[in-house]
């Protein structure tokens, strides 16, 4: 049974290889093949899951060793897999949501002539993501880590003829590379500290606090840097908004449901390291809390439906990172929120894609309105996702987010109060911006107009291949949270891997829930007052200073541009100059002076035989004189 693990990765990898190398011959079946292999991976995942359920909680870790990857004196890196409850959760999420989005893409990408390649990239992504969660050591995880980065790069830039898409793809890769630097330094630190970077020994040593507190904090912070890059957390968040240039299924799969949550996986997986370093944990919760608000604020100001959702993704991952930073009281809930978020956010993005599909790829919500009449299925599924994300009682988000807020309070002390309040505030803003999206898109008056060439959009419901995945995800958004929470199912499932402890909450769970409900109503109500009661202007009003800043992603891009891009350009340009004039100049100068000297010497050679004869005799006389002189001395 354990030998099936490699197949999980192999199936989509095969798909990617065949689709990308196969050429045009496969254009007609490529999408089917890709979907089939994604589904195959899902089926294998389910089989393994069933097998795992049949075992005791303590024997649920499967391992499979494939081969020794980099054997060098004192350095052992293997290609081997580890499938435990945590990985299993991810495998099911990735392959499940992945398969659905493959199906959705069949319809969404129908008119794209490069659809085969799109499916190849999607399969490549699945393979890399599965490698990431199945690796049993940090170096192999790193391979998956960069692999998903590559897939993300290729997919964001899928419409390469658009310069904006190509730039966004490059930006995503580069920002992620900064994070990857953190991961590679973390691996190096592990190697020099523990002599290995396999999960088992590293985490065990960290539990025993071997290696010293400073080193462990260093490792933890570097891992956090990596997580920030991949999960778009402050300060490496800037790429996610731009990443929406990619086709919408990509935004749903990679930039909402799976890849961006890899950072959370990394932190939870390395729980022992973080537990050993309270300082690092503090940084983690701060990053989580800041991003939570940052993303939410950005989400409020965006008129582009996908960018609003991207802000929301950042914010929700902020919740997860916050929970993960809380330590054993939060790990389980971080993952639980990750899974439920996977359902509802993927559903929301697919809904947004469906809307765009019907609206000639218009993304500006100010040009939507009243779409509920034209796209009933999209409206209902999107609406359920909306209710789930704001934490409507009984739906998925309610359970998972509530737990995180509880856990934040349970952190204890002033810290707990601050974190809890931030989480609550975040919930309010979430309710606000999601209500805004909902109202602007589906309610009110229709605001679309003919475009410059006179084409008026004809909103229509999307084909079955697109609506069915949306329906499935909506079902997940509704029931997953409840299913997980009844009898603490999810907690018991993950506990053997992540540990769990109950904190001492200063306020009761009921109070938290009540408070959450209050902020939810306030947030949603505000949005209703602002957008539901009044007509939405088609041209965005100027807005307050904060709104304008939030529209520009709170000026982070401007900062990057001025400091990194401009600064970098000046640096490279001056270096090119230095290389040309100074480094090269020294050499050329030497050459020129030698040349000048030889030019002068050349004049001595006038070509007249007798002048040569004179110099010969002079030379001979000199030598004779020197010889005599030497003798005399």
């Amino acid at each position: 049974m354990e030998n099936l693990i490699a197949l999980l990765v192999a199936a989509p990898l095969l798909g990617a290889a065949v689709l990308l190398c196969g050429g045009r011959r496969l254009d007609r079946v490529g999408h089917l093949l890709g979907t089939l292999l994604a589904a195959a991976s899902f089926v294998i995942g389910v089989v393994l899951f069933a097998d795992m359920l049949g075992k005791n909680a303590d024997d649920r870790t499967f391992t499979q060793h494939l081969f020794s990857w980099i054997p060098v004196e004192g350095f052992q890196a293997d290609v081997s897999f580890q499938l435990d409850q945590l990985s299993m959760t991810f495998v099911l999420l990735i392959t499940g949501v992945g398969s659905l989005i493959h199906i959705y893409s069949i319809g969404y990408m129908e008119h794209d002539e490069r659809r085969r390649r799109f499916f190849g990239y999607l399969n490549l992504f699945l393979a890399a993501m599965l490698l990431l969660v199945l690796a049993d050591n940090y170096l192999l995880l790193y391979v998956g880590w960069e692999g998903v980065g590559l897939a993300s790069y290729l997919l964001i830039g899928f419409w390469q003829h658009k310069p904006s898409a190509a730039t966004a793809a490059k930006k995503a890769f580069l920002v992620n590379r900064v994070g990857d630097m953190g991961l590679s330094i973390a691996v190096m630190l592990m190697f020099t500290t523990f002599g290995t970077f396999a999960f088992g020994p590293v985490l065990k040593s960290a539990e025993e606090h071997l290696g010293g507190g400073a080193t462990l904090t260093g490792i933890a912070l570097m891992l956090l840097l990596a997580a920030c890059g991949k999960s778009a957390q402050v300060p490496l968040q800037s790429w996610l908004g731009d990443a929406m240039e990619g086709p919408t299924p990509v935004s749903a799969l990679i930039h909402a449901a799976t890849m961006v949550t890899a950072g959370v996986y990394l932190i939870v997986r390395s729980g022992a390291v973080f537990n050993a370093s309270p300082d690092a944990q503090l940084v983690v919760v701060v990053v989580g809390a800041v991003t939570l608000l940052f993303g939410a604020i950005v989400g409020c100001a965006k008129d582009d439906i996908k960018k609003a959702l991207a802000g929301s993704t950042m914010s929700q991952i902020g919740y997860m990172v916050l929970a993960a930073g809380l330590g054993p009281i939060g790990y389980v809930f971080a993952i639980m929120h990750l899974v439920t978020h996977g359902f509802f956010k993927a559903g929301l993005f697919l809904g947004a894609g469906s809307v765009m599909h019907g609206m000639n790829d218009e993304v500006d919500m100010r040009k939507y309105g009243a779409l509920r009449k034209y796209m009933p299925v999209t409206f209902v599924t999107f609406g359920l996702g909306y209710l789930a994300i704001i934490g409507f009682p009984g739906l998925s988000g309610f359970f998972s987010k509530d737990k995180i807020i509880e856990a934040a309070f349970a952190k204890g002390g002033t810290e707990g109060w601050i974190l809890g309040s931030v989480a609550l505030l975040g919930a309010a803003i979430t309710a606000y911006y999601m209500t805004r999206v909902m109202i602007m898109t589906f309610f009110g008056e229709k605001r679309w107009q003919p475009d410059g060439e006179g084409h008026e959009p004809h909103p229509h419901e999307s084909p079955k291949s697109m609506t069915i995945p949306m329906i499935v995800l909506a079902v997940g958004s509704v029931f997953a949270g409840g299913f997980f929470s009844i009898g603490d199912r999810f907690l018991h499932w993950l506990e053997p891997v992540t540990e769990h402890s109950h904190g001492n909450a200063p306020i009761s769970a009921t109070t938290v829930t009540a408070a959450t409900m209050v902020v939810l109503v306030v947030g949603a109500g505000l949005a209703y007052l602002q957008y539901g009661r009044r007509p939405v202007p088609v041209v965005a009003p100027r807005g307050s200073l904060l709104t304008r800043a939030a529209r520009r992603d709170l000026l982070q891009d401007d900062f990057n541009h001025v400091v990194l891009v401009r600064g970098g350009e000046h640096l490279t340009r001056s270096l090119v100059y230095v290389d040309h004039t100074l480094v090269d100049g020294v050499v050329n100068g030497t050459a020129a002076s030698v040349g000048g000297l030889s030019g002068r010497l050349r004049k001595l050679q006038n070509g007249y035989a007798r002048s040569y004869a004179v110099s010969m005799f002079g030379g001979a006389a000199l030598i004779v004189a020197a010889t005599l002189l030497m003798r005399a001395v």
Binding site: V143, L174, G195, L575
Partner: protein
């Protein structure tokens, strides 16, 4: 006496070079095929060397030794260790692709010049370089090595100066002037390096009384040969300078961008992937083994220079407007990594550095040759002249991207393994150096992706709208290289197994052991 396999491996391309040069002027195609066949046959011989070599066995294997110049104790001594075998295999592997990629590079531009035989000369020179490089990897006699280390400059000079890139922005005269400037610069830099090395070689003879590397190393190890500290340092510097020019290390690097920019793409590959490797290889074989104490003495300075190379090369690559010069600066950055790995003096660092030499050879070849195909289509080397190529030539763009991804060390492709080993090996002994070097990976992503974005994506420029995609001959060049990159990225064990024992020997020569993990050291 057994068959002199190593001699044969080097002599075959040399004979092939002479034969290719002798092909009559009218039969250009025959000369090409002959050169290709000879390079393939050399590859077969190299494969035999690889097969006959036992990784766990004696340090130098397949040795040959004959008296040569008795008066000076110069011997014709050949022998290979794992590092040399790996590099010989790399050289032999790359040559057929270089020849195939340069298939039309030396066709006479106008018919009628019947007495001048550029095509024959071009391929003969390439084979000549191959022969000299291979024998440099094999020589265990310092003098023998020196001769071929220097001699390979001659064919390289003619390859750079005589067969330039036809895609030149300026007029023909301007192009010719640039070309001869590049060739002369290449020659002068390397001659100066070689001259200083010659002084050191003579100095070594004065001190040691012979030129045999194994003998001198053994004599130093058992104490029968004493070298004063200052002598050892001067000799080390003499050798190192020559190798640092060849490698090239900052600030001795400026010949490389000129040479790679002006030469045709296959010749540029020859320079950076093959000839320059002799420099880094010689650091490992001669500097560290002959002068262990001086090597350790110079390590801090060399590490700093290597770091500067890494960051400086990458930053300059970002600022380039010419595709081939960009790749050249990227190579300078990568050579920084190789030298860093060598002088970190850890198993991981040196194994990584050796692996890096192999991987860099393959990855640069892939990137540079595809770039060459692109340049020959459009007739321009300027990045700004391209845009949207992936729309018209998706296979070309795809292979270019893979070459670029290899250059930025994407995991799964071969260079990642070596780069990570170098970083980890450096970090183990010098954490700060390791961390600074890690910045190189971000910069590598920057220059590669910027290059790809500007040339391949965006709206299709009118000038590139009719570019044909890769042809069969070009695919035959690129696909095997990419396959090798993927294979060695997933399964580098064959190479590491080859290299590990040799690295162990080298480390014991310099009396260095790997730093223990902190946890173990504390116990």
């Amino acid at each position: 006496m057994s068959f002199p396999l190593l001699t044969a491996t080097a002599v075959l391309p040399a004979v092939g070079a002479v034969a290719t040069a002798a092909v009559p002027a009218a039969r250009r195609t025959a000369a090409k095929w002959l050169a290709l066949l000879v390079s393939l046959a050399t590859l077969v011989l190299a494969a035999v060397v690889l097969a006959r070599f036992e990784p766990g066995g004696a340090r130098y294997q397949l040795t040959e030794s004959h008296a040569w110049i008795k008066e000076f104790g110069v011997r014709y001594e050949l022998g290979v260790d794992g590092i040399a075998v790996a590099l010989i295999a790399l050289t032999a592997l790359l040559m057929p692709f270089v020849i195939l990629a340069g298939w039309h590079d030396a066709d006479p531009q106008e018919t009628g010049s019947s007495r001048w035989r550029p095509t024959q000369g071009f391929f003969a020179l390439i084979l000549g370089v191959e022969a000299m490089v291979i024998i440099s990897f094999e020589a265990t006699d310092v003098f023998l090595f020196y001769i071929f280390f220097e001699a390979m400059l001659i064919p390289m000079y003619f390859l750079i100066g005589g067969f330039g890139d036809r895609a030149h922005a300026g007029s023909d005269e301007h192009a010719a002037a640039q070309r001869s400037y590049a060739a002369v610069k290449f020659l002068l830099y390397n001659l100066v390096g070689g001259l200083i090395m010659l002084a050191a070689v003579i100095g070594l003879y004065v001190v040691a009384g012979n030129f045999s590397l194994p003998e001198i190393v053994a004599a130093r190890a058992n104490g029968s040969l004493h070298m004063a500290t200052s002598t050892e340092r001067w000799l080390f510097l003499g050798f190192f300078f020559a190798f640092a020019v060849k490698a090239p290390l900052w600030p001795l690097h400026t010949w490389l961008p000129n040479a790679m920019g002006e030469a045709t793409a296959p010749v540029a590959v020859l320079i950076t992937a093959v000839v320059d490797k002799v420099g880094t290889f010689a650091m490992l074989r001669f500097c560290l083994q002959l002068f262990p104490e001086a090597s350790k003495w110079a390590t801090p300075v060399i590490l700093v220079l290597a770091l500067i190379s890494i960051v400086y090369g990458a930053l300059l690559a970002v600022g380039q407007r010419d595709i081939k010069r960009l790749v050249a600066y990227a190579s300078i950055s990568h050579f920084g990594f190789i030298i860093l790995g060598i002088f970190a003096m850890t198993s991981q660092g040196q194994s990584g550095a050796t692996l890096y030499m192999v991987n860099h050879g393959i990855s640069t070849a892939a990137l540079m040759l595809v770039a060459g195909f692109l340049i020959s289509r459009r007739g321009s080397r300027l990045i700004a002249d391209y845009g949207g190529v992936q729309k018209v030539a998706p296979v070309l763009a795809g292979t270019f991207l893979i070459g670029g991804l290899a250059t930025l060390s994407l995991p799964g492709l071969a260079p990642f393994v070596s780069e990570f080993l170098v970083l980890v090996g450096t970090f183990a002994r010098y954490p700060v150096v390791g961390i600074i070097a890690t910045f190189g990976i971000v910069l590598a992503a920057l220059y590669t992706l910027v290059l790809y974005q500007r040339t391949m994506t965006g709206p299709v420029k009118p000038e590139v709208s009719a570019l044909p995609d890769l042809r069969v001959r070009e695919l035959a060049v690129v696909v095997p290289l990419i396959a090798a990159l993927i294979f060695l990225g997933v399964y580098p064990k064959p190479v590491t197994d080859l290299v590990n024992p040799a690295v162990k020997h080298t480390l014991s020569d310099v009396h260095k052991t790997d730093p223990k993990p902190a946890v173990e050291a504390a116990k």
